[in-house]
Amino acid sequence: MGLLSKKDAALIKDPLFDNNPITVQVLGICSALAITAKLEAAIVMAISVLFVLSLGNVIISLMRNIIPSKIRIIVQLVVAAALVIVVDLVLKAYAYNLSKTLSVFVGLIITNCIIMGRFEAFALANSPWKSFLDGIGNSLGYGVILIIVAFFRELLGTGALMGHQILGDPVKKTGLYALGYENNGFMLLAPMALIVLGIVIWVQRSKNPKLIEENK
């Protein structure tokens, strides 16, 4: 990354891997469980959070010197809510079906801990450019995990990716289904999202022993 200084690059790279908001900080689990049954929904969710978090971070950072600290939470909420409403209306206008699948979870981006967490922990104390990069990094880290989980859940749960049946037709019994393969209904239920997420965390920590907490 020639464009960015080393410090700035770390702002994006860190939350993608070693300080991932979902797998390391364990934030934003609720939406990670709720909307990962379909890859398409997960991607849209990731983009929505990218928009809200990066822009919100910039706005909060610009206002950081004039926000009275007593009412900062409510200011952050208003900023997040305004951006979420924009996302919600855009989705309703241009991708109505998708916005139906995502239902309340677009609105619930407001309560996503990652958003408030980054506003509070980073944007309030850093310059707009840095906050912007931090927002991009964190929402990418969030999105990557969402997409990984959704990939396995949709593939194993319905045999499809992005709505296309890639393992064959389960009704007409073609492709893999001709061999007796069947979709795993458990994959579509929320508990399995948690287990898939757990396995992702397991793999990540076994690759990177630095992340393993010490037993006390």
């Binding site: 007796g180 393969y181 069947e182 795993n184 209904g185 458990f186 994959m187 239920l189 287990i195 757990g198 397991w202």
Partner: protein, 396 residues
């Protein structure tokens, strides 16, 4: 050189390499290790993990053999090629070789897949972690084929076993550390993943799923939940000449196995008894309020005589072999009573009120598995408090 010594030599030869745990695993799996405490150990018992496990497997063998006969019997009965076994438990219509051959051919693959896949995972983890292989899977591997429908595809069973052993047991730290009963975890995985193979009226009798001529074979619970008449008498329920998961049908044999486990002090009689009591209490309660529920869809199951709940479904099997699992059950004496009682209560409750899950025993036991540590925690805490109070009274 005997196999035992050979394995020991191999283990020494590969000491320090990745292969050591593998040979060590085989060695300790088959024999007593060569290195045992020579001096200074104060407690010596014959009850090691291996013996405990072997006793449970021994108790399961008659049930496995019975289930092979029953699989064939149900198969031929549904096709009309054998008459009802009406003359008592030793009816020749039931105990004949044709039945056994069909059963053997369908059930042995289940047993083999369960053991090969499960032990494979155990060995892999033993090698990875570099410790001895644990005997925990010996019992689980035998329980698993007995609690699934006969015609479950083998690849599904294999996936479920991998899931159950890895997620249900190894991630918690292996045998003795798991929160949920691994065999039931495997069954629950199958149940939620492939519901068409785990419930309905086609899966309980071998060979029905491929047939399209309308022959069906509901379990008793299935018929009751749908408000149909039950085609089996009480004697048949007790002997186990009924369709159901492979090994859970014969209440008689499970009762004998239960007595065997109590006699050898491996199964906790407190848990078994309190589970039965819990089920009876709930059954009585439902019998009592049933008249006011006439006409609702719950009526049939509610008005089933309370004692019959003990004979049908997987209740007996769950009580004797699953609820008493020493790892996942409560450890305190008082806790065992509470734990068992709630399992019994919950089993019948789920049975009656949840039409999607005609059998509640699996879910009831898994639920109480989760609460077992909490029950123990409360009881131990109370005991500490009581003793502290006693100390205070003495000193003042």
């Amino acid at each position: 050189m005997s196999l035992k010594d050979k394995l020991h030599q191999l283990k020494l030869k590969y000491q320090g390499t990745k292969m050591e745990p593998l040979f060590n695993a085989f060695h300790t799996f088959l024999y007593t290790p060569n290195e045992v405490t020579k001096t200074g150990s104060h407690i010596r018992v014959v009850d090691d993990l291996k013996r405990t496990m072997n006793m449970v497997v021994l108790a399961l063998v008659p049930i496995l053999i019975f289930s092979m006969f029953n699989t064939g019997y149900q198969h031929y009965l549904a096709l009309g090629q054998v008459d009802y076994a009406t003359d008592g438990f030793f009816s020749p219509n039931f105990w004949n070789l044709n039945n056994f051959i069909v059963g053997f051919k369908t059930i042995m693959p289940l047993v083999l897949v369960s053991y090969i896949v499960g032990l494979g995972v155990e060995f892999y983890f033993a090698m990875k972690k570099g410790h001895e292989v644990e005997e925990g899977y010996l019992v689980t591997g035998m329980l698993v084929p007995l609690i699934v429908p006969v015609d479950i595809p083998l690849w599904m069973l294999a996936i479920a076993v991998i899931f159950g052993v890895v997620i249900g047991k190894e991630v918690f730290g292996g045998t003795g550390m798991n929160i949920l009963n691994p065999a039931l975890t495997i069954r629950a995985f199958l149940f939620f993943s492939y519901p068409t193979w785990m419930s309905g009226d086609k899966v309980w009798i071998h060979g029905l799923a491929e047939r399209t001529d309308g022959i069906s074979g509901e379990t008793i619970l299935g018929s009751l939940a749908q408000g149909k008449d039950v085609a089996y008498g009480v004697k048949e329920m007790f002997y186990g000449f009924i369709p159901g998961s492979v090994g859970e049908t014969s209440t008689l044999l499970i009762l004998l196995a239960g007595l065997f486990l109590i006699f050898t002090k491996i199964g906790s009689w407190r848990i078994m008894l309190s589970t039965v009591l819990g089920a009876l209490v709930m059954g009585l309660l439902f019998n009592w309020i049933a008249p006011s529920m006439e006409g609702t869809k719950f009526y049939d199951l509610m008005s089933t005589p309370f004692w019959q709940h003990l004979l049908i479904g997987g209740f007996a099997f769950g009580t004797v072999f699953m609820a008493t699992d020493p790892v996942t059950a409560t450890q305190t004496t008082k806790g065992k009573w509470i734990y068992g009682f709630l399992i019994g209560l919950m089993s019948i409750l789920i049975r009656v009120f949840n039409p999607a899950y005609p059998e509640g025993v699996m879910l009831a036991i898994l639920l109480m598995n989760v609460f077992a540590p909490t029950i123990d925690h409360i009881i131990v805490g109370k005991n500490i408090k009581k003793r502290l109070n006693r100390l205070k009274v003495k000193t003042t």
